[in-house]
Symmetry: C2
């Protein structure tokens, strides 16, 4: 029986720090965490935690002129002693792990003092964990890593040791907020705000020493369902008072409580529309309850018509968030963050940026990613998503020289910072993430949230080096398997940005027409002549017009629309020639054969690691690669056959299409 | 709150008998049932149950020279007294209900004695009821009428009053066997054979007074799972002994126990293949355990590869039952009945006859129908299936002048009788069948099983007259709504016999490609040029060769293949001209518009019955027709759009195709 896997913090990762004499100076719960880490590392590796006398490393938490960010740190030298200084415990913790990641390099060579600070003030993981197992969605909605680490048997776990280990992992990569429960809030989960609050206190106590504040997802109907009021109308004084009172009770118990996360008027969740109010009205009533205590409400912008008529080509789900939210710019209170899914649809392998990100200069915006692989292989497939997030965060909605998406989220564009948020991929699986290699997505999210300019391949190598240290062949093989795996996944699934084509509800495995005649607004419109969604202003849904220049025009024309998003924006004939020089239909065939071949190569590369990685890791990944190859075969064959039957165009290279 | 609906036995149905002086002569539990019916009817309607003196009606159960069938009865006159004679209680019960159905006509006019006997000795309803609610399939697998009338909360119900009413309904239409539990036998259900046997005794006691013997579905693995043996190999002496001993225990408790029903080596159920044995080996070990007590094993022929590869066009699920069973003809013991689904696939709205029915002259065969509307609208749609069963039972596999399917099942062809079996559509719904009009399918099954030569429209009118008596406008409207409803359903769903196109798993509502790339062997192979499954000997799977002449040749050629089965047997271009004179693609459009229009007319006709049928019936059916119309609209539009996108052929009549 495998113990819980140490992920990127095995004992070996602490060798360089742990073999030295280290002094830790400062007070408070997070500094205590640093001290405990040093104590454990030095005990393991022969160094010492020293109070006085010479030290190889000093970790100092103390006020510093000119520094205001408690999450920042400065690394430098004082003589032969490496020094990390921070004005707050979190900064010291991050500085400590910075050294851990650097290993021996932190102690060699010369370097002047370097200040490091997070590029994003809010780096948050949302958990879609249910207290009570949902009859359809299970314990963790869209969770592929076993049960919840927070909840079991309908209550908060008595034993929070897994949560403690998790908080340590998150603290080491700079995550500073955690949403504790699913945004779809059921009756059992609603009680976290009131009856179960003592258990939330326990969870907050576990996260606090790692610099992490906890949030709760709440139901907009809570004044009715929990409070017994006749309405949840946000403009009703009794509702306002209920939220204020309830929130004050939470802060009395958890003074550093982060605030609320809320999915309102979305996929059946209650919201302000029921009372003829808009989302600003809805968000502000929560915000005003939180404001006295410094809390924040993260109000999700994932609002769309989920009872759409597939016959109606004028309604476009991609437009929905912008249609709903852009007109409200300026109407939100200062402690409201509108939390926007990075793409306009729903966490597909390839989407353009959500235009909402560029449409609300007077609103704090957070960009939401999905670490859990809902649409990207359920943590049965290797799909290293860090390059995708890097691309989204680095995207410049207003063109070259203008702010990036990360700048918007960080408050470097117009409005103050909102943050970067992602849905966690963690469960009570011994490997944390089901697929052992999916740990790298959790790690990489934290690293990119800290600094979106990091190169994805460097982040990957950091993770590999910490988690599977010591064997260059292993490192190289893992890099080969993982680095391009997102693009591989894209190749064997839905082509050219058109998305979906997954099994309805499940969202795993191919079903080309699975959502084509559904109410979900997720169509590809393939017919015998062509495929894709016309979202142009000229002849389509007008979605391109939600972007600022230059993208509103680049996306509008097939001449300038990037190939990888062509079918997201345009309905084109199968014979349409891509910028790559190949036709759409041949591109579909080529990428599906290529993606499948790549999975086969991944599996072969992995097979070479037998005996070089721990047996339980080898066996788990080996089994999953069998499934990935099986599933990629289905994807390849179903997509190719579907388009061959429809188009009648044979593969130019004569490969087998069934 | 509606009481339980009386179905076709409301008090009013007994007026003609109940207003007369009636004498009942004879003994035994079923005669006692007749006497109780007469007592209740005369109390209600002013007649009298008399012991001596003049009588208007005599119901006499006594030995009669020359009569050997205890289920037969003779109706005639002795002076002014109507007389029913039978040698057994069941015959008397059936004669009694014969008079009830005739009403006043039974007592007027002159008529010589007429003998009535069932055309089928075995008239059976199988229940797919689970003792424990199945996490996916629910309490009643493919049940659309609420929970089980037999089981609740994981046990046999304490209160069997619904079962008593059900047994009375079945006895009135001549059903004489009932299978009590799902053929997919779970752990809780397996216990009916042993631990729960006392509850089966209680159920048998409820059915016995209505002339009905009970059966249990058993698991082939029972010697292992219940008996603790290391094997269920049918040739193992310990296994043989276990079945013999267990069966003897059942008969000690239930002397008229009917026997077993078994689904083996099918869709994951255990079977003899695991031990390298064939289905005759498997069936015979059960048969030999039952034989000393006169019991029968119904061994289902529904064996096929449910992990088929959609890429492999040579494997044909339609062939499977014949491939497995035809070679075993002659190998089954005399008390084995091979139970064959009427069609070779799975209870679609339209299928040809299963060729197994014509392939096993030395084997007792039962033909299985589905009263529960798994693929025909889930008892949300009006779909009167009696005409379908009539057509199947009257089909002559060897051509004109040769025996019918009913003849084979009845033992009038070669082998002795097997019987007619159907899956019940009943649950604890107040209307019994979810849709109030679906009661007519249950009624009609019993009537056709008694005599397959009855005209479906006459059976329908019998049911209408009993259930909604007294208002000719209601009778006419119901007839209009129901009589053609099976063909209506066929029109708006999968075209020309190709089948499926339903939502996977659920089997309700359209999903044209829902099963197209699945492992279930249920494909339509539509591409831009044509559609259908080539099952010819010349170029296809050779399935046509499983039929005897003349059908092996009629199905083989598009010149002679009936239109309604064209796509079951042939892959043809969209422009193929049907015998009807229209092309395949235009037929698809025409029938889908027509079927949808028919549902609209049904709803309009029903709307005219407000105030003329009980309000609870009116409201239930009105709501269901809204759903049927919604669903028929989806079917029409999805099927039409699918084929329009694929074929590119416009509707010749210019109607809207999205």
């Amino acid at each position: 029986m495998l113990d819980v896997h140490p992920a990127w913090l095995p004992a070996s990762a602490f060798r360089s720090v742990g073999s030295r004499r280290v002094r830790v100076v400062g007070d408070g719960p997070v500094v205590a965490t640093v001290r405990a880490e040093v104590a454990a590392a030095t005990a393991e590796h022969g160094g010492a935690l020293v109070d006085d006398g010479p030290a190889d490393l000093e970790l100092v938490c103390a006020p510093e002129d000119g520094e205001t960010d408690p999450e920042a740190f400065v690394v430098g030298r004082a003589g032969r002693t490496a020094v990390v200084r921070a004005i707050g415990g979190p900064g010291l913790l991050y500085g400590f792990h910075h050294l851990v990641r650097q290993g021996e390099a932190a102690f060699t060579g010369e370097a002047g003092p370097q200040r490091h600070a997070p590029r994003q003030p809010v780096r948050m993981l949302d958990h879609w964990d249910n207290v009570a197992v949902h009859p359809v969605m299970g314990q963790v909605e869209r969770g592929y890593s076993g049960g919840s680490i927070f909840y079991a048997d309908g209550v908060v776990r008595a034993d929070l040791s897994r949560v403690r280990s998790y908080a340590r992992l998150l603290g080491s990569i700079g995550v500073n907020r955690v949403g504790l429960n699913n945004v779809n809030v059921g009756p059992a989960e609603a009680g976290l705000l009131t009856d179960l609050l003592p258990d939330v206190v326990r969870l907050a106590e576990v996260f606090r020493p790692h610099g992490i504040r906890v949030h709760l997802s709440v139901s907009f109907a809570a004044p009715v369902t929990l409070g017994g009021l006749p309405t949840a109308d946000p403009l009703d004084p009794a509702v306002r008072d209920w939220w204020a009172r309830t929130t004050a009770d939470v802060y009395a118990a958890i003074p550093d409580f982060g605030g609320y996360v809320i999915k309102a008027d979305s996929e059946g969740q209650p919201g302000p529309f029921a009372y003829g109010r808009d989302h600003a009205d809805g968000a502000n009533v929560l915000a005003r309850a939180l404001a006295p205590f410094g809390g924040t409400v993260f109000w999700r912008a994932f609002v769309y018509d989920h009872h759409q008529d597939w016959r109606d080509r004028s309604t476009d789900r991609a437009r929905a968030a912008h249609d709903h939210f852009a007109p409200l710019d300026g109407a939100f209170d200062p402690n409201v963050v509108v939390q926007v899914k990075a793409g306009p649809m729903d966490f597909q392998a390839r989407e353009p940026l959500s235009p909402v990100v560029a449409a609300m200069p007077r609103t704090r915006l957070a960009v939401e990613f999905q670490v859990t692989q809902e649409y990207t292989g359920h943590q049965k497939h290797v799909c290293h998503l860090v390059p995708q997030w890097r691309e989204m965060l680095g995207f410049r909605p207003w063109g070259e020289g203008e702010p990036t998406v990360a700048d918007v989220a960080a408050g470097r564009a117009a409005a103050p910072a909102g943050g970067v948020v992602a849905v966690s991929n963690v469960g009570d699986d011994p490997f944390w993430t089901g697929h052992p290699l999916a740990q790298a997505n959790l790690f990489g999210f934290g690293r990119l949230a800290w600094d979106e300019r990091l190169a994805p391949e460097a982040v990957l190598d950091e993770w590999i080096g910490l988690t599977y240290p010591g064997d260059p062949a292993v490192c190289q093989a893992l890099h080969e398997i993982m680095d391009g795996s997102w693009l591989t996944y894209e190749r064997y699934t839905a082509p050219l940005g058109v998305g979906f084509m997954v099994r309805p509800g499940l969202h795993y495995g191919p079903a080309v027409d699975g959502y084509e005649y559904s109410r979900w607004g997720t169509y590809h419109f393939a017919d015998r002549d062509g495929v894709g969604v016309d979202r142009t202003r000229a002849t389509g849904t007008g979605f391109t017009g939600q972007y600022p220049a230059p993208w509103r025009d680049r996306y509008e024309s097939t001449d300038t629309c990037p190939d990888e998003l062509l079918l997201f924006f345009h309905h084109v004939p199968y014979g349409h020639v891509l910028h790559s020089g190949t036709t759409v239909i041949q591109h579909i065939y080529d990428t599906h054969f290529a993606g499948h071949d790549e999975v086969r190569r991944m599996a072969a590369t992995w097979a070479g690691l037998e005996g070089r990685v721990p047996a339980e890791v080898f066996d788990r990944v080996t089994g999953l690669l069998v499934e990935q190859l099986r599933c990629a075969t289905e994807w390849r064959d179903q997509v190719n056959t579907y388009f061959w039957r429809k188009s009648g165009v044979p593969d130019a290279r004569g490969r087998t299409i069934h």
